[in-house]
C-alpha cells in the first residue's frame, strides 16, 4: 500500500474534521477508512467499537444480498395528523433508473425521504472474486456506465499498486484525460437534467447537444462513447498522438466556450435561478457528519477532492483548482459543477498539452505470484468520480486473481445527505435536489 497517500493509525472517535468514508473487511480485520479534512489525508484505522455502527449497513453495502430492495435508515419515525407515505418508483421517468423513494409528507412539505436502493444490485463485488483482473475489469467498468472511466482506473490503479507493476507514464496520463472527459460529460448531463426539470427546454437541448459532442469525442479518441474497454491491466488501448491530443484539446475548448455562453444565459434567467436558490439546503455540519462527498460536499463548503487530497500519478504534477461554494443549496451545487466543467477543461488541456511520449502498455507482464504473506495486505485507491469520491480496496490471491474487492461508490454515501437536505422542502423541489446531488442508482447499488 502506498504510504504517501494513506496513513495507518488508530482513530477512536470522529472529530470535527474527520469523516468516516468507508468500512470494509480485509484479511480477517474490519477497517475504517477516514478522511481527515484538516490535514487532507486518508486514514486507515482498525474499526473501533464506537465508530461506524450506525453507518455499518450503508457503508458495507456490498454485503447486503442482491435481489431484495433495501430501505435506508434515515432515523426517526414521523407520525401525526395527515402524515402519509408517498411511494415513488422503482418505475418512473423522473428518475430514469430502477430505484425508489418513500416521501413522508403531510401535503406540500416533505418531512422525510426514505431512499429505497438495491433494486438493481448485481453483486459486482462478489462476482469478480476468483477472476483475473482483466476479466474482472469487464464487470467493473459496467458497474456504473456513466462513471466507467473512474471505476476502471480506480480498480486498475489498486491492482497495479498491489502487484507492484510498472505502468507507462503515458498510460497514466491518458487515464486522467479520460476521467476529466467523463467529468465534463456528467456535469453537462446534470446541467441538462436541471434545465429540463425547470422546463427550460432550449437550455436543456443545448446542454444535451454539448454532451453528445463530448460523447462523440470519447468514441473518436478513446474508442467508446462511455469509455468501456479503453483501460487494460498495465496500460490503456488508445495511443493518442500529438495531433490527436491537439485536436481533442481544441474540441474541448470549443465545447467549454459554448457552455460558458450557455451559463451566461442561465444566470440571467430569473425563472431558472428561482428554482435552485435556497432549495434543498445541506448544512456544512450535516455534510461532514453524514459523509457527503463530491460536488454535494463542495457545495456545502467542504474542501475534499481526491485529485488534490490523495492524487494518483498525473494529478500530483498538475494544478487542480478545487471549486467549493458556501451556498449549501442546489444553486451552490450547480455552480460547483458549472465551475468544475471549466476547471476540468483547463486540467484536461494541460494533460493533453503535456502528454508524455512513449508506449501505453507495459512490456513486462505483472508478477503473477507474490512472495510471503498477503493476508493483511491490501491496495486501495480513491478517485474523484463525477459524483464524488470513489473508493476501491483490492486484494489478490497467490495466482493473481481477485480475492477480495470492496467498492464504496459516491452515490451510496450521498443518499443520507440528500435525504436530509430535502427535509421541510416542498415536494416539487425533489427533482432539483436529486439531480444536483448527481445520484445514480447504478453507482450505489452496483
Amino acid at each position: 500500500m502506498d504510504s504517501r497517500r494513506v496513513e495507518r493509525r488508530n482513530v477512536e472517535s470522529l472529530g470535527d474534521a474527520i469523516q468516516l468514508s468507508s468500512v470494509f473487511r480485509a484479511g480477517g480485520h474490519t477497517y475504517a477508512l477516514l478522511s481527515d479534512m484538516g490535514a487532507h489525508k486518508t486514514v486507515l484505522s482498525e474499526l473501533p467499537p464506537t465508530l461506524g455502527e450506525e453507518f455499518g449497513p450503508l457503508l458495507k453495502g456490498g454485503e447486503a444480498p442482491a435481489g431484495t430492495p433495501l430501505e435506508l435508515d434515515v432515523g426517526g419515525k414521523v407520525e401525526g395528523y395527515g402524515v402519509f407515505e408517498f411511494p415513488y418508483g422503482p418505475v418512473s421517468w423522473g428518475v430514469p433508473e430502477a430505484g425508489g423513494f418513500k416521501l413522508v409528507t403531510y401535503g406540500e412539505r416533505v418531512v422525510k425521504v426514505i431512499p429505497q436502493v438495491n433494486f438493481k444490485k448485481r453483486g459486482v463485488e462478489r462476482s469478480v472474486v476468483g477472476r483475473t483482473p482483466q476479466d474482472a475489469l469487464l464487470i467493473i467498468e459496467r458497474s456504473a456506465g456513466n462513471f466507467s472511466a473512474s471505476y476502471s482506473t480506480c480498480f486498475l490503479t489498486a491492482v497495479e499498486d498491489y502487484l507492484g507493476s510498472e505502468v507507462p507514464l503515458k498510460a497514466r496520463w491518458t487515464r486522467a484525460a479520460a476521467i476529466e472527459l467523463e467529468r465534463i460529460c456528467n456535469h453537462l448531463h446534470v446541467f441538462g437534467r436541471l434545465a429540463e426539470t425547470a422546463s427550460q427546454n432550449i437550455a436543456a437541448s443545448q446542454a444535451n447537444a454539448l454532451r453528445e459532442r463530448v460523447l462523440r469525442l470519447n468514441s473518436k479518441h478513446f474508442g467508446h462513447r462511455y469509455l468501456f474497454g479503453f483501460n487494460t491491466v498495465g496500460g490503456v488501448r488508445p495511443d493518442l498522438s500529438r495531433e490527436e491530443c491537439k485536436e481533442l484539446s481544441t474540441a474541448v475548448r470549443l465545447i467549454a466556450r459554448e457552455f460558458s455562453e450557455l451559463v451566461a444565459y442561465f444566470l440571467s434567467s430569473r425563472i431558472f435561478l428561482d428554482r435552485l436558490q435556497g432549495t434543498a439546503r445541506l448544512e456544512r455540519g450535516d455534510a461532514l457528519s453524514l459523509g457527503a462527498v463530491g460536488p454535494a460536499a463542495r457545495g456545502s463548503g467542504l474542501l475534499w477532492d481526491d485529485r488534490l487530497t490523495c492524487p494518483i500519478d498525473p494529478y500530483e504534477d498538475i494544478y487542480v483548482n478545487v471549486e467549493t461554494d458556501a451556498g449549501e443549496d442546489t444553486m451552490a451545487r450547480t455552480m460547483v459543477r458549472v465551475r468544475e466543467i471549466e476547471s476540468s477543461t483547463i486540467v484536461l488541456r494541460e494533460i493533453l498539452d503535456r502528454m508524455p511520449g512513449g508506449g501505453v502498455k507495459s512490456g513486462n507482464r505483472p508478477k503473477q505470484q507474490r512472495d510471503g504473506d498477503v493476508l493483511d495486505d491490501l491496495a486501495l485507491c480513491r478517485i474523484e468520480s463525477p459524483s464524488g469520491d470513489l473508493i476501491q480496496v483490492v486484494q489478490l490471491d497467490m495466482q493473481g486473481r481477485v480475492s477480495n474487492l470492496h467498492v464504496r461508490p459516491a452515490s451510496l454515501v450521498n443518499w443520507l445527505p440528500f435525504a436530509r437536505s430535502l427535509e421541510s422542502n416542498v415536494f416539487t423541489d425533489f427533482q432539483f435536489a436529486f439531480e444536483s446531488f448527481g445520484l445514480s442508482y447504478a453507482d450505489s447499488d452496483r
Partner: protein, 242 residues
C-alpha cells in the same frame, strides 16, 4: 444585450441526424457499436476461448449477438471490426424476434414509448435519454416518451433483469393497454451480458415478458435504438434499411 433563449436556439441551426432517410454516419454509429465479423482466417476455437460472454460458438460457427458485449477481445483471433468487413448495413443490428407482433403497421406514424430499467449500468438508460437530444430528436419521427405504462404503446427494457425487478417488470407490462410492443435494448436485457453469472441476475427479459425486437449492443448507439423502434412498428423493413 438581452438574453433571449429562442434566438440562441435558432442561431445554433439544425444538428439532427438524417437517419432513417439517409444512411447513418460514422459518428452516429461509432466504431465500438460495430459487431465482430469473422474474417476468412478467423480461428473460431480461439475466439470462443477469448470471448468472456460465450457469444462465439465454434461448433456452429455463429456469433450470438445477444451475448456479445463488443469488448473486441476476439480481434486477436481473427475477428474483424472494420466497417468495410461485412457491408455497410451490418451497422444496423436490431432484429425481430419470433414473437410475431412486430412489423405490423398498427400504430401508424405515432408511438408512445416508455422505458423501464430492470438493472442496467445506466449507460443504456442514458443512450435512451439521448434520443430526445437535438442530434437524434425522436419527436421528428412521431415517437414520444411517456411516464406511465398505461399511456405506452411500446416498452423499452434496459438492463440485466434483477430478481427484485421481475415482478415489477411483469406488472408494468400487464398494465400497458393492447396492442403493445416490447423492445429489449442492450446485451444485458437480451441475455444478461457480463452479469449473467452475478447473484442479482434473474433471467433474460424474454423469459418473463414477450419481446418483439432486440437491439444488441453494449450500449447500442441511439441510432440503433431508433432502428429497433422503427422495426417494431413496421416503418422500417430489414431489407430496405438505408
Amino acid at each position: 444585450m438581452p438574453k433571449i433563449w429562442v434566438l440562441r436556439g435558432l442561431k445554433k441551426g439544425v444538428l439532427t441526424s438524417r437517419f432513417p432517410r439517409a444512411k447513418p454516419t460514422s459518428e452516429e454509429i461509432p466504431e465500438h457499436a460495430l459487431p465482430p465479423v469473422p474474417t476468412p482466417q478467423a480461428d473460431w476455437s480461439a475466439g470462443e476461448k477469448e470471448c468472456p460472454t460465450d457469444a462465439i460458438r465454434s461448433e456452429e460457427k455463429i456469433i450470438d449477438m445477444g451475448l456479445c458485449v463488443y469488448c473486441r477481445r476476439c480481434s486477436s483471433a481473427g475477428f474483424s471490426f472494420d466497417e468495410g468487413a461485412g457491408g455497410s448495413s451490418r451497422a444496423l443490428q436490431a432484429s425481430v424476434t419470433a414473437h410475431g407482433k412486430a412489423g405490423k403497421p398498427v400504430f401508424g406514424r405515432s408511438l408512445h414509448v416508455m422505458m423501464i430499467d430492470v438493472g442496467s449500468c445506466n449507460a443504456c438508460n442514458l443512450e435512451v435519454l439521448n434520443l430526445s437530444n437535438p442530434y437524434y430528436d425522436l419527436t421528428r419521427l412521431g415517437i414520444s416518451f411517456t411516464n406511465s405504462p398505461k399511456h405506452a404503446d411500446a416498452l423499452i427494457v434496459v438492463g440485466a433483469l434483477n430478481r427484485a425487478m421481475v415482478d415489477v417488470l411483469r406488472r408494468t407490462y400487464e398494465s400497458m393497454p393492447e396492442p403493445k410492443l416490447v423492445v429489449s435494448v442492450g446485451a444485458c436485457a437480451i441475455s444478461g451480458g457480463v452479469f449473467r453469472g452475478s447473484e442479482g441476475f434473474a433471467s433474460p427479459v424474454q423469459d418473463v415478458i414477450p419481446v418483439d425486437v432486440t437491439v444488441p449492443g453494449c450500449p447500442p448507439s441511439p441510432v440503433q435504438i431508433i432502428e429497433g423502434l422503427l422495426l417494431a412498428t413496421g416503418r422500417l423493413k430489414k431489407e430496405t434499411a438505408p
